[in-house]
Each structure stands twice: as structure tokens, then as C-alpha cells.
């Protein structure tokens, strides 16, 4: 059963190769659209995972950063004709800066205050985008955001798919690197025993702010992608139900793991597509799933499966 390192590495590249091959095999635009949306949700879930899973802070305003990213990129496009290649970095920078401000402000008091302020941000942003008619077009939403174009090629579903896949791989790599770096170890130390972490010179506030900045930056970029992909945005982006969906993805998939939020995002993007007929019950079901997974599956799907597989392997080793 033992594999050497190179075979393990080769095996790890297989999923990536499959993902790369998808648009070659699948030409159905509906399927590609679902996959692209799954990619956007993956970005959001993975970035929220940095907060919930790595540093143990519950951010309830993730949809706000997503929405802000979308509005910045969308407004730049509609009002000034700026393409995504400038809009996306602008959205990322703006949400990073906002993450810095909010982090600086709230991590002094920690825990519940952070939850409150992030929760409030979404509501405030919804009020602002709804009321500031002259800029955002209010509840009617912002139309006519330019689709993505590169070297004169207008993006089709296939291109968008590769674009979001690139972002997802990049973000997953970044999170993997964070987990296995000095930062990651500091995060875990803080999560487990903060006074002790502080005692060994881990400046927890600074690390928390940094983690939050990375998290919000990715959410902003996801928003920018969404704006240019769908070409229409409305204040509904800031709805709490979006944040809740992202939280459910992280918790059910498995917080603190690289793969968990990806699995969660895919499940909860596909599930509503299959459950169209009972769409009215969707949020009710999500709520129940959240409650019962906290009670009975605390670690989430990915870590639970990993444990089962490890156990089986362990058993095999014993027998072989």
C-alpha cells in the first residue's frame, strides 16, 4: 500500500487535470454556468475559511465584501468604462483596505464584537446601495457591466470557466501555503491558546488583521468576477442569506481544511439546482443542515471522511 512521494504527487495532479479537461468534454452551457458559480462560491467559502477555520473568528459579513467588490468593479465598468483587468485589482485592494479598517477596529474587543460589526456591514451596505440612487441605481440594480475581454477575444462560458478555475487554484494554493507557513502555525497557536501564543511573541491582533485582509481581498475579487460574468448586480448581493450560505459551505465541508470549503461550495451550489422544485424550503433546509451538522458532524465532511479513510488504511496496515 505504500506509495513513494512522486506517485503521491502525480495522483494529486489528477483532479486538476480532470478539472482542466471539463470544458473539452462538457459543452452544455448550463452545466458550465453551474460550475462557474460553484467556482465563485468556492472562492468565497475558501476565503471565509481563513477566518472561521484558521483563526477561529466568525465573520458574518462576507457577502458584504463580495458585494463591495462587485459594486466597485461594476461601477468602474459602467461609469468609467474600465475593464475587469483594472477593476478586479481595484476591488481587491478596496476590500483589503476595508478589511484592514474593520479588523483594526474590532479585534481590540474580539469575538462577539467582530461578529456584530461584520454582520452590520452587510446591512449598512444594502441600505447604501438601495438609497444612493444616483450612483448605484438603487434597488433596480446596475446593468450593462462589460463582459470580460482579453486580447480582443470575447469570453465565452469556456473562458470564464478557465478564468475562475485559475483563481480557485491560486486561492487554494495560497491557503495551503498559509496553513503550512509561520503564519499558519501562528494562527493555529492563537486559535488554541491565545494567552500562550501571545507569550511566545505572536502578536495576535496583527495576525488577525492580516488574516482578515487576505480573506476580504479574495471575497472582493470573487465579487468583481461575478459582476463581469453576470453583467448585472443588485443590492441583493448584500443579503445575509448569502453570508449564511457561505458559512454553511465552510462548516459542512469542513472548516480549517483546504478541501473542505471546496467540497461544501460544490455541494451547496449543486443542491439548489436539483432542489429547484422545493426552492421555497431551501433556506429552511440550510438552517437545519447547519444546526444538525454542528451537533452531529462537528468537523465537517472532509475531515470526517479523511478520518474514516485513515482508519481503514490503518486497519489494512495491521493486516498486511
Amino acid at each position: 500500500m505504500k506509495m513513494n512521494k512522486t506517485t503521491t504527487k502525480l495522483l494529486q495532479t489528477i483532479p486538476v487535470l480532470i478539472l482542466l479537461a471539463v470544458p473539452v468534454v462538457v459543452t452544455n452551457n448550463y452545466v458550465l454556468n453551474v460550475l462557474i458559480m460553484a467556482g465563485i462560491w468556492t472562492l468565497l467559502a475558501s476565503s471565509l475559511n481563513i477566518m472561521i477555520g484558521l483563526v477561529g473568528q466568525l465573520s458574518m459579513g462576507h457577502a458584504a465584501f463580495y458585494g463591495i467588490g462587485a459594486y466597485i468593479s461594476g461601477l468602474l465598468s459602467v461609469r468609467l468604462g474600465i475593464p475587469i483587468w483594472l477593476g478586479m485589482p481595484a476591488a481587491g485592494l478596496a476590500t483589503t483596505f476595508l478589511g484592514y479598517l474593520i479588523g483594526k477596529l474590532t479585534f481590540r474587543v474580539r469575538g462577539s464584537a467582530f461578529v456584530l460589526v461584520t454582520l452590520g456591514l452587510g446591512e449598512v451596505m444594502r441600505l447604501v446601495t438601495n438609497n444612493w440612487m444616483s450612483l448605484t441605481n438603487g434597488p433596480l440594480g446596475l446593468q450593462g457591466i462589460s463582459p470580460v475581454k482579453l486580447f480582443g477575444v470575447n469570453f465565452t462560458y469556456k473562458h470564464y470557466y478557465y478564468f475562475i478555475l485559475l483563481l480557485v487554484l491560486l486561492v487554494s494554493y495560497i491557503i495551503w501555503r498559509i496553513k503550512n507557513s509561520r503564519f499558519g502555525r501562528a494562527f493555529i497557536a492563537m486559535n488554541e491558546n491565545e494567552p500562550l501564543a501571545n507569550a511566545v511573541a505572536i502578536h495576535s491582533e496583527r495576525f488577525l488583521v492580516l488574516a482578515f485582509m487576505i480573506s476580504t481581498c479574495i471575497a472582493g475579487i470573487a465579487g468583481s468576477f461575478y459582476a463581469h460574468y453576470v453583467t448585472f448586480i443588485s443590492p441583493d448581493l448584500f443579503l445575509l442569506s448569502n453570508t449564511v450560505t457561505i458559512v454553511v459551505m465552510v462548516i459542512v465541508g469542513g472548516k480549517g481544511t483546504v478541501l473542505g470549503p471546496i467540497v461544501g461550495a460544490i455541494i451547496f451550489t449543486l443542491l439548489p439546482e436539483w432542489l429547484r422544485a422545493i426552492d421555497n424550503y431551501r433556506m429552511l433546509i440550510y438552517g437545519l443542515i447547519l444546526m444538525f451538522s454542528i451537533l452531529f458532524m462537528k468537523r465537517g465532511i472532509v475531515p470526517s471522511f479523511a478520518r474514516i479513510i485513515k482508519k481503514k488504511r490503518g486497519a489494512l496496515h495491521e493486516y498486511s
Binding site: 481590540r108 462577539s112 464584537a113 438609497n131 462548516i251 440550510y286 438552517g287 444546526m291 451537533l295
Partner: protein, 293 residues
């Protein structure tokens, strides 16, 4: 100046109910150390239970309110025992997530039961207005304020004078010491959560005749309760009463003088300013001294 006083009076009337909601949340936080994200949903249920019992089934309004209070009390106790108790050893994030899950369930269940359209609840008494100077008072609003005041006094007596209240205060000050001297902590937790939820429901059924009600009204109430509790200091009951009045007045003045579209954002403004300049709450002196009656 008349206009100013009118806004002030309106703000105090609404603020009384905010105090109720805030007291409920601050009790739960003070004793259980968790932020109850389902708080607004208990408030929403308070409004809908009154609507169902009184406006639809035609029960006596006072009885309807009492029933609602008791029903939500038991709903809170049941939820605490089934879903929060198993998480006692976990981090507070798990408990917070649990209340978030419950709030989503309640909100969407209400949406399925009562529908998404807004409903109106008839006023509790015949609507009459009278004026002192140029400031207009209406009977329904005064009644709402008086009932809020009664419940606030009743709650203070409950915490200050009864045996259960004493156990709650003991648990707040030092949970382990309280347990050592024979306070049944689990019971205190359950009663606190149920009572906190019932106070939120009281806020809901009092405001229901003044505004329209909808299944999604809870989210805003939760955030307002946060604002009240942050301003008053987490766990500080007296702070929550004053914080509620403060939020009511700030909202009323803000909507009147600044922009009515942003009325609901003033609560966040309070949260952010308080966290920036006085994170322990406006009413605190040096240290929190315990749950004050």
C-alpha cells in the same frame, strides 16, 4: 423646537421596546457568554403569535400577550436544552453558529406558515390623540410605553428579588463558585435563555400594532439588540435599558433630521462609535459589577 420634542417622545416610546429586546439579549450574553443571533426571530415570533391569537383567533389581547410570552419562554427553554446544552464544552463559535442556524430555521418557517406579505395588527386601544403644548401623544403609543415599563420593572424585580434571580446573578459573577454553593447551573442557563427570548417576544408584540409585521423583520431587530447591548455594555441590564432608550431617540432624531432612508443604520453607527471609544459600554465605570437589577 416642537418638532424636536415630538421626535424625542416618539423615540422614547419605541426605545422602551428596544430596552426590552436589549435586556433579553444582555441577560443571555451576561450569563451564558453567547450572542443570541436568533433574538430577532423571537421578536418576530412575538409579533406573529399576537397576530394569530388576537387578530385571527380573536382572543383577548392581554391574554394573547401573556400566552405569547409563555410560549416563547418555553420555546427558548426547549431550544437551549436540545441544541445549546450539548455545545457547552465547545467554543462559543459553535453556540453562535447554532443560534444563527436556528434563526434561519425560524425565519423561513414563519415565511412558510404566514407567507411573505406584510401583515398589520390592529391597535390595542381605540386610537385617540391628545396634545401637551404642540407635542402630540397617541393612546396606543402611550399604552405600548406603559406596558414596556411594566415588563422592565417586573424583570428587575425578578432578577433582584427572587431566588431564581439570585441564582442568575450568582452565575453571572462566578459560574464555578455558584455551582459549588449549589446553584443548578443548567437550570439557570435554560431559564435565562427562555426568559431572554420571551423579553424579545414582548418587544415584538408591543411594536406589532405600530408597524407592519413580516417574517424577515427579525434580522433588523437582532442588529438593533446588538446596538443596545453594545452601548449599554455586554451583560449590563441597566445599561441595556438606557441603551434601548438611547437607540430609540437617536433613530427618531436621525430619521427626522438627517435621512429617513438610513434610519436603521444609526444603530450600527452607535455600535461602531462605542466599540471605537468605549468598548466596555457607555454605562460602565471601571469594571462591570454584575447583573444589576
Amino acid at each position: 423646537m416642537t418638532v424636536f420634542f415630538q421626535y424625542l417622545v416618539n423615540g422614547i416610546v419605541i426605545g422602551g421596546t428596544y430596552s426590552l429586546i436589549g435586556m433579553g439579549m444582555t441577560l443571555i450574553f451576561g450569563i451564558m457568554r453567547i450572542v443570541n443571533f436568533a433574538h430577532g426571530e423571537f421578536y418576530m415570533l412575538g409579533a406573529y403569535f399576537l397576530y394569530t391569537l388576537w387578530a385571527i383567533l380573536g382572543l383577548n389581547p392581554v391574554l394573547s400577550m401573556l400566552f405569547t410570552f409563555v410560549l416563547i419562554l418555553f420555546l427558548g427553554i426547549g431550544f437551549e436544552q436540545l441544541f445549546l446544552r450539548p455545545l457547552r464544552k465547545e467554543s462559543s463559535t459553535s453556540s453562535m453558529l447554532m443560534t444563527i442556524g436556528f434563526s434561519i430555521v425560524l425565519q423561513n418557517a414563519a415565511l412558510l406558515i404566514w407567507g411573505g406579505a406584510t401583515q398589520t395588527v390592529p391597535t390595542l386601544v381605540d386610537l385617540k390623540t391628545f396634545s401637551i403644548g404642540d407635542v402630540v401623544f397617541s393612546t396606543d403609543r402611550i399604552l405600548v410605553f406603559l406596558i414596556s415599563l411594566t415588563i422592565i420593572i417586573f424583570t428587575s424585580l425578578f432578577i433582584g428579588r427572587t431566588k431564581t434571580g439570585r441564582s442568575m446573578r450568582a452565575t453571572f459573577q462566578d459560574m464555578e463558585a455558584a455551582e459549588v454553593v449549589g446553584v443548578n447551573i443548567e437550570r439557570v442557563y435554560s431559564i435565562t435563555f427562555g426568559f431572554g427570548a420571551a423579553l424579545a417576544a414582548a418587544g415584538g408584540f408591543l411594536l406589532a400594532p405600530l408597524f407592519v409585521i413580516s417574517p424577515t423583520m427579525g434580522a433588523l431587530a437582532t442588529s438593533k439588540a446588538f446596538a443596545v447591548v453594545t452601548a449599554g455594555g455586554l451583560g449590563n441590564v441597566r445599561g441595556a435599558i438606557l441603551g434601548g432608550l438611547l437607540l430609540g431617540v437617536v433613530e427618531s432624531l436621525g430619521a427626522g433630521y438627517i435621512a429617513s432612508g438610513y434610519k436603521d443604520a444609526f444603530g450600527y453607527l452607535i455600535i461602531i462609535l462605542v466599540i471605537l471609544f468605549k468598548p466596555e459600554g457607555l454605562m460602565s465605570r471601571k469594571r462591570k459589577k454584575g447583573v444589576h437589577a
